[in-house]
C-alpha cells in the first residue's frame, strides 16, 4: 500500500510540471529548429540543431531594437511608477485625510478598466501633443495601471512598519527627506522590490497600448513579432527564438525577488 502511495505523491506534481512546462519546452524546441523542419515534420527535439534564429535576432536591428525599445519604456515606467507611488503610499499609510479610504479604493479600481478603453484617448492625446511613437508615451500610459498597483503594494509594506520608527528618526534629529531616503526606503526595500517587479512585468507583457502608441521609433518587440509574421511569411523558427527571449527578463526578475514576493503574499498585497 505504501509504495504506490509514494509513487503517486511524486507522480502528480511531476505530471503537473510537465503539463505547465510543455509549451515552454515546445517554444525552445522550435527556436532551435529551422522553419522548414517545424513545418515539415513532427519532432520532439531538433533534428538539425541551429542557433541561426538567435543569431539573426542579435544581429538584425529590426529585431534587437524591438527589445531595446521595450526595455526602455518598461524601465522608464518602473522608475516613474515607483517615484510617484512611494510618496503616495506613505501618505496613505501614515496620514488621515478627507476621503483617504475612497481615494485609495478609486486608485485601485483603475486597474479594473480594460486597457482598450484607454487606447483611443491616449492615441489622440499623444498624437496631439507630439508624444506619439516615443518611449515615454508608452511609459506614461502604463503608469495608469502600474501606479495604483505600486501604491497598493507599497502601502501594505509601509503599514507593516510601525510609525514609531518615523518618530524615532525625527527624535534622533533626522529631517523628513533624510529619514525617507536613509531610513524608510531601506526598511521597505523588499516592498519596493516587489512593486518594481510587478510594474516591470505588467509593462513588459502589455501589448495593446504599446502597439497603439508606437509606429517605428519605439516599436516594442511584440509588435515586431506580429508584423514580421504577416509580411515575410511564417518565420516560425525566428518567432520562437524571439518568444523564448521575451521570457528571459521576467524569469531573471522573478529569481531576484522570489523571497520578497512570498512576504508580499503574506501581507495580502500581491
Amino acid at each position: 500500500m505504501g509504495v504506490p502511495m509514494n509513487r503517486i505523491k511524486w507522480l502528480l506534481p511531476l505530471l503537473y510540471i510537465l503539463f505547465v512546462l510543455l509549451p515552454i519546452y515546445w517554444l525552445l524546441n522550435m527556436s532551435f529548429k529551422t522553419t522548414n523542419e517545424i513545418l515539415g515534420s513532427f519532432t520532439l527535439w531538433p533534428d538539425q540543431f541551429t542557433l541561426q534564429n538567435y543569431r539573426t535576432i542579435f544581429t538584425d536591428p529590426t529585431w534587437y531594437v524591438g527589445y531595446l525599445n521595450t526595455l526602455a519604456y518598461v524601465l522608464a515606467n518602473t522608475a516613474i511608477s515607483l517615484a510617484v507611488a512611494l510618496p503616495a503610499a506613505y501618505a496613505f499609510s501614515r496620514y488621515r485625510f478627507l476621503g483617504d479610504k475612497h481615494l485609495f479604493f478609486w486608485l485601485l479600481s483603475n486597474r479594473m478598466a480594460p486597457p482598450a478603453v484607454f487606447a483611443l484617448p491616449f492615441f489622440q492625446l499623444y498624437s496631439a501633443i507630439g508624444l506619439f511613437d516615443t518611449h515615454i508615451a508608452v511609459a506614461l500610459a502604463h503608469c495608469l495601471f502600474n501606479v495604483p498597483l505600486a501604491v497598493w503594494i507599497l502601502e501594505g509594506f509601509m503599514s507593516g512598519v510601525p510609525k514609531e520608527l518615523d518618530e524615532t528618526a525625527f527624535v534622533d534629529g533626522y529631517s523628513f527627506p533624510r529619514f525617507f531616503f536613509r531610513i524608510f526606503i531601506p526598511t521597505i526595500a523588499a516592498g519596493i522590490g516587489v512593486a518594481a517587479f510587478f510594474c516591470f512585468m505588467f509593462s513588459w507583457v502589455e501589448l495593446l497600448l504599446a502597439k497603439t502608441l508606437t509606429a517605428v521609433a519605439a516599436k516594442p518587440i511584440a509588435a515586431t513579432m506580429t508584423r514580421t509574421a504577416s509580411t515575410s511569411g511564417y518565420e516560425l523558427g525566428l518567432l520562437s527564438a524571439a518568444g523564448a527571449l521575451t521570457i528571459v527578463p521576467g524569469a531573471l526578475v522573478i529569481y531576484f525577488v522570489r523571497n520578497y514576493i512570498a512576504k508580499g503574499f503574506a501581507l495580502g498585497r500581491v
Binding site: P162, E164, L165, E167, T168, A169, F170, V171, D172, G173, Y174, S175, R178, I183, P186, T187, A189
Partner: protein, 362 residues
C-alpha cells in the same frame, strides 16, 4: 540656581473634538526619574508625545529649561525616546544605529567612535556592534534603542514602557540598571509604566495618569503614601486597592454596620457621615484558626490564587469585593467563609467626591 526641567503649562489635546489630554499643569523634576503611572490607554504615551514635540497641544505651552519650546520641531528639541516596541533601524548595524543621532548632528568621526564605544560598554553591547538588530535578543534590541537614546546626551529622555515587552528576567536586570545609567547624567527622565512596583523601585517623582488626566504629581513616596484622591490611590496599587463604604458615627468608623474601629488622632476631627475607606491588599491578611486581629472581618472566598510565595485571595464582604495579598502559601476553598485582619492603622479615607480626606498615619 536650580534649573527648571520640563513644564507643561495648561497643555490640552483634542482630536476630532474629543479630549485626549485634559488641561495639564505639571513641572517635572529636572533631575532623576519622573514616572508616569497609569493603566493602558490612560494617555501616558500621548503625554510623552506632547512632551517630545511629536504632537502639538491644542492649547497650552511646553517649556523646557525655562524656554517656551511649543513651536520648536521635535528634531531641534534635543530629546530622546525609547518605545515599548523595539524600534531600531533594521538595515543598519548596531554600531550605525547608536551612531545615527551623532551622524545627523555632524559629530566628527573620532568623537562618534569614542561616544558609541563608551555607551556600548555601559550597555554591554560592545561584542554585538557589528550585528543587525534582527540578530539580537529582545533585551539586546532594547539596549540598542536605549544606547541610541543616551548617546546624544539629550536633555530630556522619554522612556515609554521600555521594559514591557521583555521577559521577566531581562526586565528585572534592565530595571536594576536604569537608575545607574542615568545616575550621573544631567537630564530629565520621563518613564511611563503600568506597574506601581516599577514606580516605587525607580523612585524619583511620580505622576498618576487616569483617562487623559494627571491626577497627582509629587515625590513617588508621597504619592504612594498620601494620594490626593481615589483615582491616584487606585493607580498606585497592584492588585487594586480595596475600597468600601464606611460611615463615621461618633468616634468610630463603621463598615457594613457590624465592624467598627475608632477614628484616631487627626481622623477624629472628621465630620460624621459617609466615607470610603481605602486599604491596600497587603494590609488585609488572612487569619489562621480562630486568631483575631485589631479589626477582624469574615468574608466568602471568591477566588484564591497562589503565585510563588504569595497568596492572593478575593473575598466578598458586605457587597464589595476585597483582595488580600499575603506572603506564604495559604490555601482557601472557594465558597467558604474565612477570617481576615484589616490593618486599619494604614487606611486612607476618601470623601464621597473621591478626595482623600485623611490617613490613619497622619
Amino acid at each position: 540656581m536650580t534649573r527648571s526641567g520640563l513644564e507643561l503649562r495648561g497643555v490640552e489635546l483634542r482630536v476630532d473634538g474629543q479630549v485626549h489630554i485634559h488641561r495639564t499643569d505639571v513641572a517635572l523634576a529636572p533631575q532623576g526619574f519622573n514616572i508616569l503611572l497609569g493603566p493602558t490607554l490612560a494617555g501616558k504615551t500621548t503625554l510623552m508625545r506632547l512632551m517630545a514635540g511629536l504632537l502639538k497641544p491644542t492649547a497650552g505651552e511646553v517649556w523646557f529649561h525655562g524656554r517656551n519650546v511649543t513651536a520648536v520641531p521635535v528634531r531641534a528639541r534635543g530629546v530622546a525616546m525609547v518605545y515599548q516596541q523595539f524600534i531600531n533601524y533594521g538595515h543598519q548595524s548596531v554600531y550605525e544605529n547608536i551612531a545615527s543621532p551623532l551622524r545627523v548632528a555632524r559629530a566628527s568621526r573620532a568623537e562618534i567612535k569614542a561616544r558609541v564605544g563608551r555607551i556600548a560598554e555601559l550597555l554591554q553591547l560592545s561584542p554585538l556592534l557589528d550585528r543587525r538588530p534582527a540578530e539580537l535578543s529582545g533585551g539586546q534590541q532594547q539596549r540598542t534603542a536605549l544606547a541610541r537614546a543616551l548617546v546624544k546626551d539629550a536633555g530630556l529622555v522619554l522612556l515609554d514602557e521600555p521594559l514591557a515587552n521583555l521577559d521577566y528576567k531581562l526586565r528585572e536586570a534592565l530595571r536594576d540598571e536604569l537608575p545607574r545609567l542615568f545616575a550621573d547624567r544631567d537630564c530629565t527622565v520621563v518613564y511611563a509604566t503600568t506597574e506601581p512596583g516599577e514606580a516605587l523601585l525607580l523612585g524619583g517623582h511620580t505622576a498618576t495618569v487616569h483617562e487623559g488626566r494627571v491626577t497627582q504629581f509629587g515625590a513617588t513616596s508621597t504619592v504612594y503614601r498620601r494620594p490626593v484622591d481615589l483615582l491616584a490611590a487606585r493607580a498606585f496599587s497592584d492588585p487594586p486597592m480595596n475600597s468600601a463604604p464606611v460611615v463615621k458615627r461618633g468616634g468610630n468608623f463603621e463598615l457594613g454596620g457590624v465592624t467598627a474601629w475608632p477614628a484616631q488622632r487627626a481622623l477624629a476631627g472628621l465630620a460624621d457621615g459617609p466615607y470610603t475607606v481605602g486599604l491596600r491588599p497587603h494590609r488585609v491578611q488572612p487569619l489562621a484558626g480562630g486568631a483575631t486581629g485589631a479589626v477582624t472581618v469574615e468574608g466568602r472566598v471568591a477566588i484564591a490564587e497562589i503565585s510563588g510565595s504569595e497568596s492572593v485571595v478575593h473575598f466578598d464582604l458586605h457587597g464589595s469585593t476585597w483582595v488580600s495579598q499575603s506572603h506564604g502559601v495559604h490555601a482557601f476553598d472557594v465558597g467558604t467563609m474565612a477570617a481576615f485582619s484589616l490593618d486599619v492603622s494604614r487606611a486612607l479615607y476618601f470623601a464621597p467626591d473621591g478626595r482623600c480626606v485623611g490617613s490613619a498615619e497622619d
